[in-house]
Symmetry: C2
Subunit: 195 residues, 2 copies
C-alpha cells in the first residue's frame, strides 16, 4: 500500500542560509511533519514517502523528498533535521542527488508532482480541508497521496489545481497542526489494515 | 469534559543542569507530548491538562503540571519549552508555585497523583498498552485521564498500580511515539463530541 504526504510550504526558504528552521519560513513545521509521517517508536515507516514543496525565497520551487524505504541514520530531533535540510538545500546538483540516505531534492513544482502522482502513478489524491468528506468515511485505495498546507494554508490556485485530481477530506472542525493531521491519517490508515 | 494526560518519564532529569532536553533523560519526549496534548493550529486546548512525572536523578519524583486553561505566552518549539522546563525545575518552592503561567511543579508521586484523580476527582483512568481494549470501542466518561510511558515504557510496578484504578486501552499493533498516541486520543475524543 502506497502512502504519501505532500506538504505545501508557502514561505519555506529555498536556500540554506538560516540559523533556525523556524526562521526559515517555518521549516520547523516541515520537521514536525517529517516526524509524524515517518517515525514510529524505535522504528521508521518503510511504506511512507514524505514530500515538501518549498515556495519561499530565493529560488522556488524546491521539492524535497524523504523516502521511508531508504531513509536511515536519523532521529526525531530538530537539530538532526536542521542539518539534513541545510545539507540538502546546499546541494548544487539539479536533480535527485542525495546528500543523506533517503533524502533528495529537485526543482519539480507542486503542480507537476501532483499530476505525476495522479496520472503516472495512479494514486488517489486527498486534499485536507475543513469542508471535506469525513476521513473515517473514506474508502482508501491502494495508493493514497495526502496534500496539506502549513500554518498559512495553501494558496487558492494550488488548491484548485489539486482538486482537479483529487477530493477534499476533513478531520472535523478542530483546527489541528499540520503534523497532527498526518499522525491522525497514519492512525486511521493503520486501523484499516492492522487491528 | 475533563481530559488529562499523564506521562511517566522513567529517567527524566529532576534538576535544571542540562544543555538539551534530549540529554536530560529524554525530556524532548515530554516536549513533544506537551505540544500534542495542548496545541492546535493557532490556538491552545483550554480543556486539557498535561502532567509529567519525572523519575530521573537527582531528586525524584518531580510532578510538572501544565494547565491549558491558564497557559499562555508559549509556542510549540523546543527552545521555548527547554526554557520553561529549566525555569520550573530551578524553582526552589516546594509546592505548586508557578514560574510560567499555567506551568507548576511539586513533589507529588505518580501513585499519589493517580489515586487523587481516580478517588477525589472521580476521573476514569486509561492506561495505554498494546494488549488493551481498542480505543475506538471505548465509551468515554466526562472525565478521562490517560496514562502513558516514554520511550522505555512504565515500570511494571507503576503500571500494576495504575491498573488498580483504571483499564488498559490500545491504539492497535503499531508502536506509536508517545506524542503520536496523545494526538490520536485527542482526535478520537474530538470526533465523539464535535463532528
Amino acid at each position: 500500500m502506497v502512502r504519501e504526504f505532500i506538504l505545501f510550504s508557502r514561505i519555506g526558504q529555498t536556500d540554506p542560509n538560516f540559523s533556525s528552521l523556524h526562521d526559515a519560513g517555518r521549516l520547523d513545521i516541515m520537521h514536525e511533519c517529517i516526524v509524524s509521517s515517518l517515525f514510529l517508536s524505535h522504528g521508521l515507516r518503510r511504506d511512507v514517502t514524505f514530500h515538501a514543496i518549498l515556495n519561499g525565497p530565493p529560488n522556488p520551487p524546491v521539492h524535497i523528498k524523504i523516502d521511508g524505504e531508504t531513509l536511515y541514520d536519523v532521529r526525531t530531533d530538530i537539530d538532526t533535521w536542521q542539518g539534513i535540510i541545510k545539507k540538502t538545500l546546499s546541494n548544487k546538483a539539479q536533480s535527485q542527488q542525495q546528500v543523506h540516505p533517503g533524502v533528495s531534492k529537485d526543482k519539480v513544482s507542486f503542480e507537476a508532482l501532483l499530476k505525476s502522482k495522479a496520472e503516472t502513478d495512479n494514486c488517489k489524491i486527498y486534499v485536507l480541508e475543513e469542508g471535506g468528506k469525513e476521513l473515517s468515511k473514506i474508502e482508501f485505495g491502494e495508493k493514497s497521496v495526502f496534500v496539506l498546507g502549513d500554518h498559512v494554508g495553501m494558496p487558492r490556485k494550488a488548491e484548485t489545481f489539486a482538486l482537479r485530481f483529487g477530493e477534499k477530506i476533513s478531520l472535523g472542525k478542530t483546527p489541528y497542526l499540520a503534523a497532527s493531521c498526518i499522525t491522525v491519517i497514519n492512525y486511521v490508515l493503520d486501523q484499516k489494515v492492522k487491528f
